[in-house]
């Protein structure tokens, strides 16, 4: 569907995006995940046409897009701060793209109606953006983009400015919308939980480089680099005989009998997180703490200061690049 081949971007001599080749499949929900400044938004803006790659090509359905201006690319971008036109009603905002393409008025009305129904904006069509809440504005931004029936929808941290509860609701709405539309979504976020929940595949980025590409399950279970092991979910990194490996907190076991335990340590903190317990343990021989997650099967509570053994199964070790 979209193919990036050897795309790289330099700003004033600095490499912002290192050479990147990536194929995004039709109907896929692909997320670019990384901390701010990692180049994910730049990639999105290159696909949209607002930035020109320094090197490389971007193809959509096999056709080279690289030199086309944004208005002639068959894809739409949902901006982080929505960028709704303040002087137009919700309806006019949504119809904007159709008007620019000089679509017949009757068809325009149908498309707007469709987009409005899908985003549950029907009672708000006559309002102006400043009369809407943040979540409603976000819906208008999405409706405005999907009314054009683009081949690909690009979303730049679309939920970044919303509060947690609203974000959770809109996440599931987005996922639902993507399934029913069948459009390819390219999504940018720094929120790893959001990425895990929504994506078919995740591209983890750090300082302009791709760290790992994989399904949420692959990324969580078998991270290949130190960065992806620690950026997505909590992880404990051990080093032994010159190799690094990671063990997830839920794979670690705390044992009272220290014989045969792989590591010894002292309980620094006991955290109750509702459905789970968490122990923070200071290891004896290494200057690091590990977290251990377990459920409430143990009847004797762990105490701060207690000496314990830390154990795990060898098959739960995930070797990451040295």
């Amino acid at each position: 569907m979209i193919e990036l081949s050897g795309v790289e971007k330099h700003f004033q001599g600095q490499v912002v995006v290192h050479p990147l080749s990536l194929t995004i499949k039709e109907g896929e929900f692909l997320t670019l995940l990384g901390p701010s400044g990692c180049g994910k938004t730049t990639i999105l803006r290159m696909i949209a046409g607002f930035e020109q790659p320094t090197k490389g090509k971007i193809l959509l359905d096999g056709a080279d897009l690289t030199s086309l201006p944004p208005n002639r690319r068959d894809l739409n971008l949902v901006f982080q701060h929505y960028a709704l036109f303040p002087h137009m009603t919700v309806e006019d905002n949504i119809a904007f793209g159709l008007k620019m393409k000089k679509m017949p008025a009757k068809e325009q009305r149908e498309r707007v109606h469709e987009a409005v129904t899908m985003t549950q904006l029907t009672p708000l069509v006559k309002r102006y953006p400043h009369q809407l809440s943040g979540g409603q504005q976000q819906r208008v931004a999405i409706a405005r983009a999907i009314a054009n029936k683009p081949k690909v929808l690009l979303l730049d941290e679309p939920l970044g400015a919303l509060d947690l509860q609203l974000r959770k609701n809109l996440q599931s709405e987005l996922k639902h919308l993507q399934r029913s539309l069948g459009i390819t979504f390219v999504y940018v976020t720094h929120d790893q939980e959001e990425a895990m929940m929504l994506s078919d595949r995740i591209v983890i980025m750090n300082s302009g480089k791709v760290e790992q590409i994989g399904t949420p399950r692959e990324i969580y279970a078998t991270p290949t680099t130190l960065f992806s092991a620690t950026f997505v979910g909590e992880n404990n990194i051990f080093s032994q005989d010159g190799r690094l490996f990671a063990v997830r907190p839920e794979k670690l076991k705390a044992v009272r009998n220290q014989d045969g335990a792989k590591r010894m340590g002292e309980v620094l903190d006991v955290l109750y997180l509702g459905s789970i317990h968490k122990l923070i343990v200071q290891l004896d021989d290494e200057p690091m703490t590990v977290s251990i997650v377990f459920d409430f099967t143990d009847d004797r509570p762990w105490e701060v200061g207690e000496k314990i053994g830390v154990n795990w199964n060898t098959e739960d070790e995930v070797v990451i690049g040295s």
């Binding site: 607002f50 944004p70 208005n71 036109f85 793209g97 102006y128 953006p129």
Partner: protein, 268 residues
């Protein structure tokens, strides 16, 4: 928590206000004085306002002022807006340089502006008259329009235009449907300020006006040399009223955009 200000601060502010507004209040008050002499108050009258409109010289000066103000407003609004739109697209250094130069006429003393324009017109053997006043007014009005429209453009940011392009609008459609409606309040506000500046400019006009092109401020100056008449007070009162109204209107226009940050046209 309520903060209590020092009592002297209130008195001080009051004195400042009196210092600024008492002279203006005097002019307004005496424009209604039925006595010809400024020294005593002998009753309320609209007489001087009525006599203004039958005074041929006043009407002629008013005509000149209006012609000059209208023409220089239209031209400077066009030029200033175009300048703001163009300079936005250039590099940061060029922007600082050219933008600074465009801002300069606001800071340069009027007397320098007037004198330099007079020298220029003489060099080109241009007869002094309405035309030279119009050109002179355009030179400083462009700056005001440029500054105000630029403020509005900066407030708008680049994202709306990017959104328009993303939705398939070409350069002209983006300008016509997004940029122009967004900066229109700024353009109107700039035009109103330009009109006001032209309306009450004395210094620059004084240097570049000719025998047949007396504007209201120049006429008032000429009259005052022969003593302050109540008609002049009335004329000044009208000018004050018009200027203040236009400035407030400009301020209102600039803030009319929906969901925009509050902006001010009165930083100078």
């Amino acid at each position: 928590m309520k903060r209590k200000n020092h009592p002297l601060l209130g008195i001080h502010s009051l004195l400042v206000m009196i210092f600024i507004y008492v002279p203006i209040a005097f002019i307004i008050a005496y424009s209604f004085n039925s006595s010809r002499l400024a020294a005593d108050w002998s009753g309320f009258t609209f007489e001087w306002y009525a006599s203004l409109f039958t005074n041929r010289h006043v009407m002629e000066a008013l005509g000149n002022t209006m012609t000059v103000a209208l023409v220089s407003t239209v031209v400077s609004t066009l030029l200033g807006t175009l300048a703001a739109l163009t300079i936005r697209k250039v590099g940061r250094k060029t922007k600082a340089g050219v933008g600074g130069l465009l801002y300069l006429p606001i800071i340069i003393p009027d007397i320098i502006m007037g004198l330099s324009l007079l020298v220029l017109f003489t060099q080109f053997h241009m007869p002094l008259g309405k035309m030279t006043i119009i050109i002179a007014h355009i030179t400083f009005c462009v700056s005001y329009v440029y500054v105000i429209v630029t403020t509005r453009l900066t407030g708008m940011g680049g994202q709306l235009e990017e959104a328009a392009q993303d939705l398939g609008a070409d350069a002209w459609q983006t300008f016509r449907h997004v940029t122009l409606p967004q900066i229109m309040p700024g353009i109107i506000s700039g035009a109103l300020i330009a009109f006001t500046m032209s309306l009450d400019d004395f210094m620059v006009s004084f240097f570049v006006s000719g025998p047949s092109s007396t504007t209201l401020p120049i006429y008032i100056y000429g009259q005052v040399k022969r003593g302050i008449s109540p008609e002049i007070n009335a004329l000044c009162t009208i000018l004050i009223l018009v200027s203040v109204t236009l400035i407030f209107l400009a301020q209102f226009m600039l803030n009319r955009g929906k969901g925009q940050k509050k902006q001010s046209v009165l930083p100078f």
